[in-house]
Every structure is written in C-alpha cells, then in structure tokens.
Amino acid sequence: MKEEDIRRRINPLFPDAVLHIYGQDCSFELQVISEAFAGQRPLKRQQTILGLFKDDLQSGTLHPLSVKAFTPSEKAALGDGLVRLTL
C-alpha cells in the first residue's frame, strides 16, 4: 500500500483531517487530526479508522497499522513542536 492509497481511503470520511503518515509497504503509523473525533472515546476513533482498512488488516496487506486520532485542540495540547519519535 502507498501513502496515497491511505489518504484516498480516509479523505471521504474525514475531509477536514490533517494526516501524517509514516512508514511504507505494509507497515504504517497514522496520525489523523480531525474535529470529527470530538466527544469520541479512543476506542471509537480507532474502530472508525481501522475499519476503513479491515480487509487489508485481515489479509496481512497491512501489518502493523498503528492509528493515533486527535482533535486539533488535543493535538495542540500535546506540545509545542517537540515530537517524541517512536518509529
């Protein structure tokens, strides 16, 4: 899978989303920042995003796919540009 494929999958449902995609081939880490997550628990957020890739996750085309979903204000509260590298 390519970054573009991931964007194309997420855009229709989250047109406002800021997407950060790290990784290649079958292994990706996504950060999805959208107002649509407001009021949603982390589980619900992950179910929605991961659900878009259900078949790829089942078949192994994607593994692993790690998703972090924030609202813009949550993302802003995380820090002042300092990014902890987890890859």
């Binding site: 589980l43 992950q46 259900k54």
Partner: protein, 106 residues
C-alpha cells in the same frame, strides 16, 4: 457452535480476556507483548487466546468486536481496545480501577 458464538461465550465466561498473537510467556508480536506487559503490571489474572494458534478465532473476532487488529482486550464482555488504548488506560489509572471494579462484582 459458530465461531462468533464461541467467542461471545469466551468473553462472557472470562471477565478479563486478551486475544493476542502468541502467549504471555512468548508473545509473537510487539503489540501483543506491550499489552501483556501492561496487563501483567496490574497484578490481576487474565485469560488469553493465542489467535495464531487458532486462525478461526482470528478471522471471526473482528466481526464480534468491530476492531480489526490484535491484541484485543475484553473486560466484562466489552471490547476495551488494542495495545495503544491498554497502555493509555494503564497510565491514566483507568485500567486499574476498571479491573478492581470487575473483581468486586465477580
């Protein structure tokens, strides 16, 4: 019994159950290893299913939980989430209080 029914029975019979790749002693994926480490640090017992040893369950579980990746933690027959969520809930103390509550009502 249908596999989805078998899973529903498992999560009903075991208050705390982790569906993972490998076993707690020998996790076969970094995310399952993280989940086991978080759960073990609580000191509470939990049941587990090695989905690699049971492809049938691995295939059917996402249908029950509406969650397509592994590991998956269930408490009181309710999907809690995967390793990210388990670790976040451990850090916030939410996991501990949920487990304490669960054992009281058992």
């Amino acid at each position: 019994m249908k596999t989805t029914d078998q899973i529903r029975q498992q999560i009903k019979e075991h208050t705390v159950i982790l569906y993972m790749k490998g076993t707690p002693a020998e996790p076969k994926c970094g995310f399952s290893a993280k989940a086991v480490a978080a759960m073990s640090s609580t000191g509470f017992d939990f049941a587990y299913v090695d989905v690699l040893a049971s492809p049938r369950i691995k295939e059917a579980l996402p249908e029950v939980s509406d969650f397509p990746t592994f590991p998956q933690l269930f408490i009181n027959a309710e999907i809690i989430g995967g390793s990210d969520i388990i670790e976040a809930m451990l850090a916030s103390g939410e996991l501990m209080s949920m487990l304490k509550e669960t054992t009281i009502t058992q």
